[in-house]
Symmetry: C2
Subunit: 193 residues, 2 copies
DNA sequence: CGTCTATTTGAATGTACTCAAAAGCGGTGG
DNA sequence: CCACCGCTTTTGAGTACATTCAAATAGACG
């Protein structure tokens, strides 16, 4: 149950037995069926979520009602609505299971206490955030500098597992193009082999 | 000399006298002339930089030699190459003064020690990173969902000071469009008043 | 004053979009 | 197990927005 999340933490910091046990005591297991939400835009965001099994997406709905996938996450990833979690305001985005999934939740309040009691977790989340920030910057640059077909190539290379398990429509939204366009890009790629 | 940076920190955390004095002892003042670099792609990134006066830009040069502005920063902002700073590898981006500027530098090694010695600074940079991450997500969503003219409107509203002090070419690059396009957008806006 | 760069404007081009319709696929209930 | 319904994906045709290329003008700097 906890191997994956402890491995995830061990990649960044080293925990004492006490810290590890306390951290584990905060985790709430949660099963989610396909299409269920763990965060909904407009509601408070109560949890930081670690994925033990399954696959989720975070997406934003704009003024004209269109959905935009911000990120996907699968086994071993964290996902949440950072804005809602940090500010305590209503979440801006939705987080939805794309498959039946098993999560480990960290309650927002417990989380805040954890950081004060064991500052090593400040370090952990700082490191995580740095990495996420860097990845985000790279994506932003790519979105601005590359045409759609190359963005898709990079996506396939970088996240072969997502390419396998996600429907075209969702990937198109992540890439910022229409499903029609991605369909055409795929058939072009298939030809040139 | 240090009012601005202490105010910047006080927005996130409260420092003891000892912490404050130690932190200040790490700061190296540095003047930069217009067009000078504080970080260059390919070189190691040795500093986290706080801007006391002036204006800088961070930009990425892609495979075909085109520049892409990632961010601007003026008085009261931090700027650096996060990737280089965190990993110790060569920086991916350039950070260049757009005006004569005055910086306060925190050396990477001193910075690492600081975080270990006074974990309150872990907290400070975690909070800073969270905010930067949220801002980045919003920008990504905007870039994907809005046409160029509306992205420009938002930019003007959000950063009126940048709009004033930066050349069209740089703003266009930040928005991910050509200077010609931004010129046309501006003349359109001028008409509709 | 002259040079170099930034900005504006015009014309042609192209990439990705919208709209529309057909085909494919999956899940549900009879 | 099959038939049906709804949603996803594919394909086509026309369109729009932003780009490229080119040239003229304006502005900044030495």
């Amino acid at each position: 149950m906890y191997e994956l999340i402890l491995k995830n933490i061990a990649e960044c910091i080293t925990l004492s037995d006490e810290e590890r046990d306390y951290f584990i005591s905060l985790l709430k297991p949660k099963k989610l069926r396909r299409r269920q939400y763990i965060v909904q835009a407009g509601d408070p965001c109560k949890y930081e979520c670690f994925i033990n099994k399954g696959c989720l997406r975070q997406y934003y709905v704009d003024e004209v009602g269109q959905e935009h996938v911000i990120m996907f996450a699968e086994e071993g990833w964290w996902i949440s609505d950072m804005f809602g979690l940090v500010t305590g305001n209503a979440a801006l985005t939705n987080v939805e299971a794309l498959e039946d999934s098993e999560l480990l939740l960290v309650d927002k309040n417990a989380f805040d206490k954890l950081l004060i009691q064991y500052p090593v977790f400040e370090r952990f989340f700082r490191i995580k955030l740095q990495r996420a920030f860097i990845a985000h910057q790279k994506r932003l640059i790519e979105n601005m500098s590359l045409p759609a077909d190359q963005r898709y190539c990079n996506f396939v290379e970088r996240y072969p597992s997502f390419e396998q398990r996600l429907p075209l429509k969702q990937i198109a939204s992540f890439l910022g193009i229409t499903p029609e366009s991605l369909s055409r890009i795929r058939s072009q790629r298939a030809k040139s082999r």
